[in-house]
């Protein structure tokens, strides 16, 4: 099928799109073929990541943000929205409960919104291994905004930052002191910081901790004329409070990206990351397929006996696939 016809098909038929997402998620050959065909048509959507610790209200925020986009005051614009919501898989059984739709019931019945749940399937960066590819498919299907809700993330699940153009990090009162806030990791990737559940006591403390973290982080950048100042916004997502400000912050971040040249820069980084990722994956697969497990077992045994060193054994194993390091 040719490129335009395939695009028309997933634009016009939601079941076709849903089925193709499954192919891509399962990394089948037909999924890959479709992605390859559609690649030139992608790169148009604004990808927005929402991340934060479990229970801070990510799903409720996604729900409200999607509503805000669809019902903008003083605007006829109604961008179509695709949502990818990721939940963890059990490390023991591989099964998963995907419960993010539970908080997105307000979005049901709106033909301009498409919600898809994904299980992380053992990936550890806060996304599933094929989330980027599924997002690309939605991009090709004409969705102009793609909201990606990560697995409830702690401190190091920062993969979303290399996939999203705009990363929203959600915090809530009572989750930790100011030392938590200056640790490296998830807070550093924020383009927008949200203190959700702002009706709870302690909201000022959380806000202050985030502010001091930003001051420390940004002091270097103040000289640059076009730096983005990360806003800290209060919301009560289950009531929809504060969402207009979030919407405006997302929109001004988009224009900042476009006007400052940051969009091109991030796209290049994103593509570089993806290529690197795919090369590594292909390499791992190649090694797994071509290094006999008997050789690995032998290596383990001689290492256990302390007859050799790990580096030497790795060199020996890689020489089996024609690599010298």
């Amino acid at each position: 099928m040719d490129r335009q016809a395939l695009q028309e098909e997933i634009k016009g038929n939601r079941l076709k799109l849903a089925r193709l997402i499954t192919e891509v998620e399962n990394d089948t050959s037909s999924g890959r073929a479709a992605l390859e065909e559609l690649y030139p048509l992608t790169g148009k959507a604004h990808i927005i990541g929402i991340t934060g610790a479990p229970g801070v209200g990510k799903s409720s925020l996604v729900n409200q943000l999607a509503l805000a986009f669809r019902h903008q005051p003083h605007s006829e614009e109604k961008p179509s929205i695709a949502i990818i919501a990721i939940d963890p898989s059990s490390p023991f059984t591989g099964g998963a409960i995907l419960g993010d739709r539970l908080r997105m019931r307000d979005l049901s019945g709106d033909p301009g919104i498409f919600i898809r749940s994904m299980a992380a399937r053992g990936a550890i960066g806060g996304l599933a291994r094929t989330t980027a590819q599924v997002a690309r498919l939605m991009d090709a299907a004409g969705y102009s905004i793609i909201l990606i809700e990560t697995v409830g993330a702690g401190q190091a699940e920062v993969e979303i930052a290399s996939l999203a153009h705009t990363t929203i990090v959600v915090d809530a009162p009572g989750l930790g002191d100011d030392i938590q806030a200056i640790k490296a990791g998830i807070l550093e990737i924020a383009d927008i910081l949200i203190v959700n559940k702002a009706d709870l006591p302690g909201v000022e403390n959380t806000e202050r901790a985030l502010q001091s973290m930003l001051l420390l982080a940004n002091s270097r950048q103040y000289n640059s004329p076009q730096h983005w100042e990360v806003p800290i916004l209060r919301t009560v997502a289950n009531r929809g409070d504060g969402m207009l400000k979030v919407l405006q912050a997302v929109q001004s971040h988009l224009s900042y990206l476009k006007n400052s040249g940051e969009w091109e820069k991030r796209e290049h980084l994103r593509i570089r990351d993806e290529v690197k990722h795919l090369v590594v994956q292909a390499f791992i697969q190649h090694v797994q397929e071509n290094v006999p497990s008997a050789d690995i077992n032998n290596a383990v045994e001689s290492l256990y006996q302390r007859q050799t060193s790990p580096y030497k054994e790795v060199q020996k194993l890689l020489s089996k696939v024609g690599l010298q390091i």
Partner: protein, 132 residues
Amino acid sequence: MNKKIRVLIAKPGLDGHDRGAKVVARALRDSGMEVIYTGLRQTPEMIAEAALQENVDVVGISILSGAHLTLVPRIMDLMRANGQENVPVFVGGIIPEEDVPALLKAGVKEVYGPGSPTTKVIEDIQRLTNSE
């Protein structure tokens, strides 16, 4: 290779008891399936829409309110209209014996009453998704 069975567990109608649905969801998860759980008080439209967007392999409907003869055929109609007539649907909850034939006639694959072992549900789903 990476294929997982995806199941939608849905609770239509007005009753507020989802313990049964959660027990089943958990059992399916523990058997390695990916379970999309949508929560209470879903309309038939919401359920059909979720089944479509999530491209699930099976839909499980939990009803305790007694409205099964209205709600279930409505969900089946909507799924058919969406092109998902081949997706097996099962129903669990408090279903009087005499209503079971009507549900089966509407296209429901299995009906599970109180006390049904979750192992039976798991086996049935595995069988139904294998025969595709």
